[in-house]
């Protein structure tokens, strides 16, 4: 364990809020004092006026004392003395998230015990700073004490996620609690003190500390520079309190590769030991591409010990549409999903994986979603039973690899590790396929080979039937197999099965308009993103109307990942848009918002020559990343146009690739 480095970051904690809050409160107090004689209200049983004035005066005095309190609240975490015995965690990869806030103090041991019985060896929970320290230096750790003690008594490890800001420390204290608690802390002292206090409290009991919950807008109202400041400060405080503490960085969700690449450079590079992921893919197999690229990023940038990958929140994808709903899955689909999720994550290099929720509750099931493995009465759902079967089948210390079997859609995760040699899971990535198990490409069955379906008892050996086996989304377990890697392709450096394309396109005049490699229709349920498709000048086109309130100025596009994915350092991308506008006397135009290493950025404004028919406009994007940030690659916007813009065709190419133009 190396000593924590002292690093500098370009950003800082917000500092001016105290003064601003003081001014606001002072103004309110003055206003109340001014209003009082003007209103000349008679005394009432409630004495509203008197109460208001007293409240304002008290608030002003509190604000005036705030800077003194902040100075007095310096970080108090004490460094540990050297020579303390290293705590050894269980090193099991199987984890689950437990929403401690939704449980009573008495229910916590019950939940921990239930997790243990399901085969989990790790529990992650969020420690909300705003709940734990509602007032400066007044801590309420009772629930987390109970969790840590219960977990240790069962032999479970704990990962604690420090997140959310109390109102008294928030840089947006005047906002509603749902916003202020997600804002950056004001100044760094209180945040560092909280981190140091929590880490010191659980020293030698908890080693894994995630810094803030998933960084989407639900949980974090700051920029990536803000998070860098938070992370560096937390890392220093945590390692000061416990040199054995492992600091885990978060990402905004969806395995945001551009954001993670940002963290993997100074000064944040030296401030974390592992990256925490929240995959949001429709099927677990789709995460393999992200994890493959992520490993490349981590290997390329790791200057010391390589960063580890933890999937700390594997959940279903949440639709980025106006409803924000989750995908509805049946119990059988959920069972299949969770087993494949764990298997794929381990195969792609994740060291620990946590399902998003152990138990359903009203608090953690937004919009009626049921993601828990247990119901509210702690009774296991089918997915819990399926996952237990996987844990029993796979070793506690496992290695895994993901394979494609020849040109079939069957995917296989081969397991390694103590007592698990020759074991594998197989399923079909797309639809159902019927294959003779003795003729699976690259798979040689041993004399004691045994195959059974996840939803059936292990005694029901599919190989005994002598028939072809139908492989679907639900995995089958297979034991005593040998692999012939020459007939297998490892799913890692993902390669397309079809020849590489020179360009991809979207043409509304084609009956199957999205066969060209750019998808758009899947975004039509998104807000302001359902342009009317109509015939204009003998072509079908999308009508982008520059009125964000009632119409659709946007056209979202998703470029086929086999064509372009995480174009970091690659050649510039060109987007050719065939567009027109009708009114010759009114300006028209559009621009693009696209995924880049800096997040979503904008192209220059492209004017459209009105009343000149269909014209091609080429925009070059020098830093296009196209790694599906927020679920799309780029978005055309006619919001700044003075009249509707019609778009008939979009072609995406890349400089250096031949024949970008259509044949």
């Amino acid at each position: 364990m190396t000593a924590p480095e002292v690093t500098q970051v370009s950003g800082t904690f917000p500092q001016k809020q105290s003064r601003r809050r003081g001014v606001q409160v002072g103004a309110a107090a003055c206003l109340a004092l001014l209003l009082y004689p003007c209103l000349s209200l008679q005394a009432s049983p409630f004495d509203w006026e008197g109460r208001l004035v007293r409240l304002a005066v008290k608030a002003y005095k509190t604000a005036a004392r705030a800077p003194e309190k902040a100075r007095a609240a310096a970080a108090t975490a004490k460094p540990v003395s050297p020579g303390q015995p290293a705590w050894q965690p269980a090193e099991s990869p199987y984890g689950v998230v437990l929403d401690v806030q939704s449980l009573s103090l008495q229910q916590i041991p019950q939940a921990v015990q239930a997790a243990h019985q399901l085969g989990f060896r790790m529990i992650r929970t969020v420690v909300p700073w705003d709940e734990v320290e509602p007032q400066p230096k007044r801590f309420r750790f009772q629930k987390y004490d109970a969790l840590v003690d219960s977990a240790r008594s069962c032999g479970l490890d704990v990962l604690l996620t420090l997140s959310y800001c109390p109102p008294w420390a928030s840089s947006l204290a005047s906002e509603p609690a749902a916003i202020s608690s997600r804002a950056m802390p004001e100044g760094g002292e209180a945040w560092s003190r909280f981190v140091g206090t929590a880490v010191a409290r659980y020293k030698q009991k908890v080693r894994l500390w995630q810094i803030w919950e998933r960084l989407d807008m639900v949980n974090f109202r700051g920029t990536r520079q803000d998070y860098a400041v938070l992370l560096v400060a937390a890392s220093k405080a945590a390692k000061l309190a416990d040199p054995l503490a492992q600091v885990l960085a978060s990402e905004p969700g969806g395995i945001d590769l551009g954001f993670i690449a940002y963290l993997c450079q100074p000064p944040t590079l030296s401030s974390f030991d592992a990256i925490c992921l929240n995959p949001r893919v429709d099927t677990p197999e789709l995460a393999a591409r992200y994890l493959s690229v992520l490993r490349t990023i981590l290997q390329r940038t790791a200057s010391g010990p390589s960063k580890r990958i933890y999937v700390t929140d594997w959940s279903f994808p949440i639709a980025h549409d106006a409803t924000g709903s989750s995908l509805p899955l049946s119990p059988a689909e959920l069972s299949s999903f969770v087993v494949r999720a764990y298997a794929v994550a381990f195969a792609m290099g994740a060291e620990r994986v946590f399902w998003t929720e152990l138990r359903d509750s009203a608090a953690n099931s937004p919009r009626g979603a049921s993601w828990g493995l247990l119901d509210e009465q702690f009774q296991p759902r089918p997915a819990a039973t399926a996952l237990k079967a996987f844990f029993d089948f796979a070793p506690q210390k496992l290695s895994a690899e993901l394979w494609a079997l020849g040109d079939t859609p069957v995917r296989m995760v081969s397991l390694g590790g103590e007592g698990a040699a020759g074991r594998a899971l197989l399923w079909s990535a797309t639809g159902e396929v019927k294959l003779d198990p003795t003729e699976l490409p690259g798979v040689k069955l041993g004399p004691h080979a045994h195959m059974w379906a996840l939803e059936h008892p292990a005694e029901d050996d599919l190989l005994q039937h002598g028939d072809a086996v139908t492989f679907g989304k639900t995995p089958v377990f297979l034991s005593d197999v040998e692999l012939a890697p020459t007939q297998l392709s490892k799913v890692g450096a993902w390669s397309a099965s079809s020849p590489p394309k020179d360009y991809v396109y979207l043409d509304f005049s084609e009956t199957t308009s999205e066969k060209g490699g750019i998808a758009s229709s899947k975004y039509r349920s998104w807000r302001a993103a359902a342009p009317e498709i109509l015939s204009v000048q003998d072509r079908l086109a999308a009508k982008l109307v520059p009125d964000g309130q009632t119409a659709s100025p946007f056209l979202y596009c998703d470029v086929d990942d086999d064509f372009l994915f995480y174009n970091s350092g690659g050649s510039p991308v060109t987007v050719e848009v065939t567009a027109s506008a009708a009114n010759a006397t009114v300006p028209a135009g559009f621009n693009l918002m696209y995924d880049s290493p800096r997040g979503h950025v904008f192209s220059s404004w492209q004017s459209v020559r009105p009343a000149t028919g269909w014209q091609q406009y080429v925009i070059t994007l020098p830093e296009a990343l196209f790694a599906n940030k927020n679920g799309f690659d780029f978005r055309l916007s006619a919001l700044g146009s003075k009249q509707p813009v019609f778009v008939a065709r979009v072609v995406v190419g890349q400089e250096g690739r031949p024949n970008r133009q259509q044949p």
């Binding site: 209103l39 000349s40 609690a177 924000g324 621009n591 927020n630």
Partner: protein, 80 residues
């Protein structure tokens, strides 16, 4: 007049308390778009200020409006 003024005062306090305690709608966006590179009140910013444009973009993504103070802070941060 006195009764009217009293009710205005009471109403103001009630509305303020309601705004303070009602939670904002869930948001799903992952990061703020980099609007600081745009020229405000131009077509590329929808003829809005950068903070206003950011507020609109975040409404499109999340369905809830961020405050002007928060948007201004983000734009300022992006300019650094």
């Amino acid at each position: 007049m006195k009764t009217y003024a009293r009710w205005v005062l009471v109403l103001t306090v009630v509305v303020t308390l309601l705004i303070a305690v009602v939670p904002a709608k869930r948001a799903e966006a992952a990061e703020y778009p980099q609007v600081a590179q745009l020229k405000e009140f131009s077509p590329e910013a929808g003829y809005m200020s950068l903070a206003g444009y950011l507020r609109y973009l975040m409404f499109v993504q999340d369905g809830s409006w961020m405050s002007r103070a928060e948007a201004s802070r983000i734009v300022k941060q992006q300019r650094q």
